[in-house]
Structure formats: C-alpha cells, structure tokens
Amino acid sequence: MKRSIFTLSLLIALLASCAPVDLNAPMPAFETGIDPNTWAQVPAGEFHLGQHEDMAFTEAYEIMVTDVTAAQYADFLTTALTEGYVKIDGENILGYYPGDEFRGVKHEERINAGDWLLIPLNDPSQRILFDGTTFSVQAGYENHPMTMVSWFGAWGYCGFYDARLPTEIEWEKAARGTDERPFPWGEEIARENANFYSSRDPFEDMSSFGSRTSPVGFYNGKNYDGYQTRDSASPYGLYDMAGNVWQWTGDVYEGMHYRFLRGGSKDTYDMDLRIWVRNNATPTYFSPGVGFRCVR
C-alpha cells in the first residue's frame, strides 16, 4: 500500500512536470502612464563603472526612457517592410547587416555581411502578428517590451530611426548615474522594485507559466489594483534598467561574435539585476526575456 502511494505520488509529480504551459494565458492589462516615446538626457562626464567602481567617461547622449515596446516594433516592421528595409523569408523577418571583421580567435564565429534574422514569426512566444501586409501586437502585450528579437533585430530597429544600440558603458551610466549604487533606484532591492524571478508581480504564476514581462515603466510607484510598486527609475529617469528583460547593447568586440546583454530579466534572480552584471549571447539569439532600447 505504502509503495503504491509512493509510486502514485511520483507519477503525479512527473505528469505535473510535463503539463503543457498556456503561453496565451490571460494577462492583466495596466496603463503605467510612462510614454515609451520619451528620451532622457545623459550629460557628458565621468561616472563609476563596474562592480569595483573604476572611473569612466561618456559624451552626452539621449536614451529611451523605456525598452522598445512590442507596439513600437510592430509599427517599425510595417514601415520598414514597405520601404524594403526588412524582408520576409518564410516565417522569419530578415534585415541586412554589414558584417563584422573576423579574426579567427578560438570560438569566434563569422558574422558576414548579408541578411540576418530580426525576429521569427512562428515561435509560440512571439507576440508580433503579421497579416501579410501589416504587423500588429497580440492583445494585452502592446505596452510590454519587445521580446523574441535578435541582436540584429534590435540593431536594425535603432538604425532605422537614426539611433543606435547603447554601448555597455552608456547603458551602465544611464542605469547608475554618477554614484556607486548597485541598482538603478539605490542600494537594496525589494520585490516591488522590479520584475525578476519569483518577484510575485501580477504577471507571474510560478505554478504554471512562470514569469512574464510587465508593461514598460510598471515600477513607477503606482498602485495597480492593489499591487503597490516602488518608484524604481534610474537617476536619469529611466525605467526597467533592472529586471523585466535583458537589454541588447551595441558593442562589437574584437575576436568574439557574442553580443552583451545588461539588466537581468524576469527570469533571473536579483543578483543578476545588479548594474554591472553582464550576460552575452550570439547575435541571432532571441528569447521571451530579451529586449532592447536605443540611444542617439
């Protein structure tokens, strides 16, 4: 009898682990009041770079206050398709990239000039829809960060609007300001500061689909149907510089094809939300936890 109970429990646990995940489960809709079309000014000057606070310098630049949203990206694709800036190849959207210099360093892979994947359309996690002429966004995700976008897709978007991806240094200064804080809002992190793994925000359900993105600028001190957030803007007024989605940066380093990502995401523990933490991936990588913003 005891053995049967044990076997049955094990079987239930195994079956539960194989349960399909509803990727289109209902999503709470909130307006954050943060306009994704606004840009913040970052002045020229020195700041503390990295974990051990080396001094670094940047020129002045402007950076988007939020990540690029799915709605912004859909608009871009519609216009860019009309202008021939992007093309459709089966279920993929491609765009031209001029290539990187190949130095043959160990593990380095060639990034040749040519058409590269911007986004896939057939992935179940993709929130961009295409009706043959126009791109749109799955309902509820309009003000969420654009995800499932490769580095080429992020690079292409920024370039289309005469902007570019931030360098890692620019990204870090925009997140940190000029003091030595580890998080954009200050010294410590609480669950109400950002969307990270098991942060118990209204968008996650750890028993089924796990973490999901939150609308850009969600952590702005507002109360959303009883869920009280903390105002977690960076010193320059940027939102989501920690958590929600990893953000592609623009540096292309000598001898490596990897591109670097910053900020941590909905899928990482709080330690990865510290400002200096770096992640990297091949430029063709895309994920429900990766997005971007631009500078100019």
Binding site: S17, C18, V21, H107, E109, Y197, W246, M256, N279, T282
Partner: protein
C-alpha cells in the same frame, strides 16, 4: 573539569573526533548559508536569516563572499581527508600530531574568521586570521608531504598483493604523496591571484568570464586553481576509499601507477593554462584525466567483484540475482564506488558532452545558461565527494543491521535524486524552451530540495546523536578515543 577534558581530548586529539568536528562544522555552514540562495531566497527565508544573524550583505561583495564561503567549506573537507590519510597510512606519530593540530587550527580559523569577514562586516583583523588559517593548512600540507615520503625505506612493503616496485617501493603511498604534493603546489595558483586581487572582494567568479577570449594570467590562474583543487580532492578521496576497502591484487597494481601518472599529468596540464602553452593545455588535461579516471574504474571493478564474491561465498552456483543482492547488501561499502560511477552521469559525462558540443550547442545559448551547467556540475561533484565521506563516516560509527542499511541507502538515494534533478535542470534547454519550462523546473526543484533537505536532516540526526553521546560517561566517543582507522581497514 575532567568531563570537558576527556571530551576535548576525544574531539581534538583522536582521528574520529576530529572528523566529527569537521563534519559538524561543514553541516552547520551548509545548513545556514544554504538558506541564502535558490528556493530559500524565493520563499523569503534569506531575509529572515540575514536579519536574525545580523549579516551585512553588500551587493558589490557577493563574489568575494562566495569565494570565502567555498574556501571555508573546502578547507574543512581537506582537513577531513587529511585526518583520514594520517589515520590510514603509516607515519611518525609526531608528524601525525603536528599535521592534525595545524590543519585543525587552520580550517577553524579559516571558517570562523573568513565567514566573519565575508558576512558580518569587513573586519580586517578577521581577514588576517582567515589568511593565517589558510597558511596553516598550507604548512600542514607541506608536513604531510614530508610524512608521506614514499622513498623512506621504513615504508617499503613486502606484500606482493599491493602495487610496488621490485625493491618494495610502495606505489600506493607514492600516489598519496603525488596527490599531496600537487595539492600543495596547486594551492599556490589560488594564493597568488588571491593576493593580487587584494582584499578578497575585488575578484570574480570564473563562470562569469568564460566567454571572454583574452584572459589575464591571474584569471587563468584562478580558473586552473578551482578546477584542479576539486579534481585533487576527488583523487584523494578515491585513494582513501581504496585504502579503507583494502584495494589490492592485479587491479591495484595497474591502478596505482595510473593514478600517479594521471595526477601528475593532470596537474601539468592545469598549471600549463597560465603559461604560453595554454592552447595545448586542455589536451594535456584530457590525457591526465583519462588514467586517473581509469584507475578509479579499476577500484570500482575490484570493489564490486569483492562484494559479490564475499556475499555469495556461501552459495555454490550464484545466479545473477544472488550476485546483485550481494553487491548491494552493504550500502556503506557499495555506496562510495557507486557514487563514483554516478558521478560520470552528473559531472564527467556532462563535462565531456559540453566540451564536444560546446560551439554547436552550449555557446549558442546565452552565457547565463552556460553558467548554470558549469556551476551545477561542480556543485554536484563537491556534493558527491561529501556523500562518499559520509558513507565512510557511517562505517566509522560502526553502524550495523537496519541502521546501516537505512543510513547508507538514505544517503545514496536522497543524494542521487537531487544530483539527477540538478543534471536535468542543467541540460533542460536541450529539450524544453524557456517559455515552457516552469512546471518542469518546479518538479526538479522539489526533487533537489527534497533530496538535499532530507540529507541534511539525516546529517542533523547523526550529529544530534553524536552530541548526546558526548554526555554519556562511556559513550561511543570513549570507544573511538583510541581507535585508529587502520584497525577498520577491510581484511
């Protein structure tokens, strides 16, 4: 007063007492600091522990804290292995006393003041005492090398069942010696960059820089150091288990030269990482690892063969069922080599698969995914070594009958459930997407937490029993006081 004196004498002046103290120290650190990460952090336990203990967690110091935590646990494990070596191998009593005393003071200083420095404010006096502790362990290692000197004719052997040269040079002792020498030398590959990076906080975790193509010599040194030290702890426990089980015969004669060769070549490869020979160093490492792992396989074959033979001696024509039953009859004797075999599925196998498919699979994933594989497989390796120690310690406690079965099988089954789940977790991206992984992740986490949690409960019960025993006038401790490990080697 005599009460305290007797107990102190047992705990700090007998091999089994010293092992008990070190296991208790590791158990306490693991239980408390295990609550600062993973699911415990998710459930909010971390905040409670941090507040209750008055820890000072500075975000920028996380990497330094973790390095000190790893060292605190590793030094206690090295002390346990050293006690086992001094208890199992012949050496002058004065050497044994000096080595055990030095390493005991060393690891306790390292653990108490290292953790004090790392988690309870930057008290630089604590840091000094932490370094003093590490230095004492280093000098204990030097003394161990002298004590093990296999060229000392006192230690030549005549028994032809064991690996030896014609003149009687003991090749098993030479394998212990080679492992001790290379361990002491390899520790310098951590000590030098440790000093370079200064205060223990301006440092990095190796898994965070793996994809950076150009690394400095100091960075390579740290990477080499952590790999080789764990490998050497693994090699030493294999030799210890072999000695406890009284490994001998033709397989012993083949295994010991391989163990010596493998240890030396493996070390040369790892040391080569910090030299201009770096491009070929990995090939040398593979060449060195192969004989070492083959020698461990020979120990496994010999052990299982012996367990089967001993267990079926009373049956004239044993069938497969009899043989299997005999093999698993004693979990404490079967367990250590089984765990070595299991390690191939959770550590070596994963490592080789990663090396073969690195660019094709693992380097297509983001660095954070690769980090999970790296940290996962060396945590499992460390934990497997710990379970082997606990299995041997169960035998030292003289467990018999059902208690022996429950203790042994609990360790094997609980740990293997957890390690298997960790391995699936590491490799999950091969068969499930990020978006769909959560139910699987939940189940794996339950399995990991259940396995490791229950293992810690088992350890707590064991330590609780040993604590109560200390209050008895003639408890188990009194029996163990003058009992040496050599007396318990299989005959």
């Amino acid at each position: 007063m005599q009460f305290i004196k007797d107990r102190f004498n047992y705990l700090f002046n007998s091999t089994k007492g010293l092992i008990l103290v070190a296991i208790a120290m590791v158990g306490m650190v693991t239980a408390v600091w295990g609550m600062l990460s993973g699911p415990m952090a998710e459930m909010g336990v971390r905040e409670i522990v941090v507040k209750a203990l008055g820890m000072q967690i500075v975000q920028a110091e996380r990497e330094g804290r973790i390095i000190i935590l790893y060292h605190s646990i590793a030094m206690a494990i090295i002390a346990i292995e050293t006690y086992m070596v001094t208890g199992l191998l012949k050496m002058k009593e004065s050497f044994k006393t000096a080595i055990n005393a030095m390493i005991t003071v060393g690891y306790i200083l390292t653990m108490v003041f290292g953790m004090g420095f790392a988690y309870f404010g930057r008290n630089w006096a604590f840091h000094g005492l932490y370094i003093t502790g590490l230095s004492l362990i280093f000098f204990a290692g030097v003394l161990l090398i002298i004590a093990l000197n296999p060229w000392n004719r006192e230690y030549y052997i005549t028994d032809k069942d064991y690996a030896r040269t014609k003149s009687g040079f003991d090749l098993e002792r030479a394998a212990f010696f080679a492992t001790a020498v290379t361990t002491v030398l390899s520790s310098l590959f951590g000590a030098v960059p440790g000093s370079y990076y200064g205060n223990g906080f301006e440092t990095f975790l190796a898994e965070n820089i793996i994809r950076i193509p150009h690394k400095t010599m100091m960075e390579y040194s740290v990477i080499g150091h952590l790999h080789i030290m764990l490998a050497l702890i693994g090699i030493m426990i294999t030799l210890i288990i072999g000695r406890w089980l009284n490994f001998k015969g033709i397989l012993h004669k083949i295994a010991m030269p391989l163990m010596i060769l493998g240890t030396i070549v493996l070390n040369l490869g790892v040391w080569g990482v910090v030299t201009p020979l770096e491009p070929v160093a990995h090939m040398v490492i593979y060449v060195g690892a192969t004989p070492s792992m083959f020698a461990a396989l020979l120990l496994l074959i010999w052990d299982w063969n012996k367990l089967i033979k001993d267990g079926t001696a009373h049956i004239q024509k044993p069938n497969l069922g009899h043989k299997l039953s005999a093999l698993v009859r004693d979990p404490l004797k079967f367990g250590p080599t089984w765990q070595m075999l299991f390690m191939n599925f959770t550590t070596s196998g994963i490592g080789i698969f990663m090396a073969v498919k690195l660019d094709e699979i693992f380097r297509v994933w983001p660095a954070r995914e690769e980090r999970i594989e790296l940290t996962g497989h060396w945590h499992v390796l460390s934990a497997i070594i710990a379970t082997i120690i606990l299995l041997y310690y169960g035998d030292m406690n003289g467990f018999k009958g059902k208690l022996r079965q429950w203790y042994g099988w609990s360790i094997i089954i609980l740990s293997d459930i957890a390690f298997a789940a960790v391995t699936v977790f590491e490799m999950k991206r091969l068969f499930i997407s990020e978006a769909e992984q959560q139910p699987l992740v939940n189940s794996l986490m339950y399995a990991i937490d259940f396995g490791l949690g229950m293992l810690l409960v088992l350890l707590a019960i064991l330590l609780g029993w040993r604590l109560i025993d200390l209050f008895k006038p003639q408890g188990r401790w009194a029996e163990e006081l003058d009992h040496e490990l050599t007396e318990e080697v299989d005959r």
